[in-house]
Symmetry: C2
Subunit: 249 residues, 2 copies
DNA sequence: CGGCCAATTGATTAAACTCAATCTGCGTGG
DNA sequence: CCACGCAGATTGAGTTTAATCAATTGGCCG
């Protein structure tokens, strides 16, 4: 019996979306195969390139297979607000069927491997694969919670709280798809990008990062970060793990 | 021919969700009747009362029939961030099927009339009423855009820009369900609530509102606001109407 | 007439921004 | 192998926006 269950669990070489959904529910081989077959049409986007542009026609759904993307809004005066990060296993444009044009831009933060899926196939999912349909619905609910957390950071947390809160979010999200190394994880964004995520200036980001490092809360090596005391970071930034971890199926 | 079409349009006494979906697409009588029948089980929530609590079990979907609600997160230190307003025609908890507990709280801002719907009936919708399913999906995409705009306000707009941007959003959203009176609309929140929406202190809200009034951009009478120059307000706050108006069906 | 909540005002403080250099790591062409 | 160039990180100084604290006022209801 246990062997059957482990056989059904996604293997490390599964695509990220399979690892993610597989971490919350048991997927059958049929469902895994279908999810993988959805992703046959892939495209590589080099770091820095936009692949969704605010106001443009938006006719595809993207599954992130590897790499990081940012979803952002550009303001006229040179300002930019990053709304969220798309990590491996995330899906962009799930509800694109009902929107003619994009209301945000998206760019590759690192080199990116995307699967391009015809959004009409999500209808096929909801009709033939109820577990996957539930999984995608769960992804939607989770994205809402993540964007809500982003609003909380921007509206009511101090600079250092914002930083801790964001790093905790990223660590938890990456852990779900197996992209962390214990307390270490890649954080491939520049301080400029971090600033546009957290609604701060890059100068202030720099100083607050130094404070966190010298306070021993985090360690940084190149573009990798180590969360040295997750409990303390959670308390310090009022992070709520439930927003990311809650699910039902 | 035109008479048939006008017959199909939702009449003013339709429920708010019918007015909202009817404003973006043509609903058949069958669809309208079904939407109305969903809302037979109603409940009245007095102003100030919470009806969804962060962390609690969350087993219902709510259709707002009349009144305003706020969706918010409470932080330990007495801070609060309001994530969004639920206006007549809005739906709360569409994706509740796949989440055991709420990741936010919701409270009645005014006296509120809600329809309480078993979330399992949304499955019935997607199977039997494709146009309504598309309509609800459109609502979801729109909620995302609205929450994204909220993040932009909080992260990258100045205090006065935030105020103008929010009032434009509310005016456009209310207009869709017929709850505006030309350039006038109800804005039933206190300055305290406004502050927790826009990530500012109520003192600062007060001063910025005075500046907008004395600048002639808005007029205020009790809890009603008049947008005196919508084009100027849009330019001033970098508001993007497309985020709310774009749709396809 | 209180009582109370919300709005308003004034004064001071603090967090974060801007501007302007400087420094560092790294890849590249000579 | 080295000088150069460049993007990103870091630092310092002065400024601005908005927060905080503390009253005071206004409107409304019982």
């Amino acid at each position: 019996m246990p062997s059957i269950i482990t056989d059904l669990r996604p293997s490390p070489e599964s695509s990220a979306i399979v690892r993610k959904l597989g971490a919350m529910t048991l997927l059958s081989e049929l469902e895994i195969d279908f999810l993988e077959s959805l992703q046959h049409n892939t495209v590589n986007v080099p770091a820095g390139m936009d692949f969704i542009e605010d106001g443009n026609d938006f006719n595809a759904t993207f599954f992130v297979r590897s790499g990081w993307a940012i979803r952002y809004v550009k303001l006229g005066s040179g300002r930019r607000q990053i709304l969220s990060y798309a990590l491996p296993g995330d899906v962009l444009g799930l509800h694109v069927n009902f929107r003619r044009k994009a209301s945000y831009s998206a760019a590759a933060l690192t080199d990116l491997e995307l699967a391009v899926v015809d959004p009409l196939r999500t209808i096929e999912i909801s009709q033939n694969y109820p577990v996957l349909a539930a999984g995608l619905s769960w992804c939607t609910a989770r994205e809402f919670a993540i964007l809500g957390d982003q609003a909380v950071r921007l509206g009511r947390l101090s600079a250092s709280e914002r930083l801790c809160h964001l790093m905790l979010e990223l660590w938890h999200r990456l852990r779900l798809v197996g992209d962390v190394d214990g307390p270490w994880f890649d954080m491939p964004m520049t301080q400029e990008v971090l600033a546009d995520t957290l609604g701060l200036s890059h100068v202030h980001i720099n100083r607050q990062m130094q404070k966190l490092k010298s306070g021993g809360l985090i360690s940084v090596d190149k573009r990798r970060v180590r969360l040295n005391d997750i409990e303390k970071l959670i308390a310090l930034s009022e992070f709520d793990v439930k927003h990311l971890a809650e699910f039902r199926l």
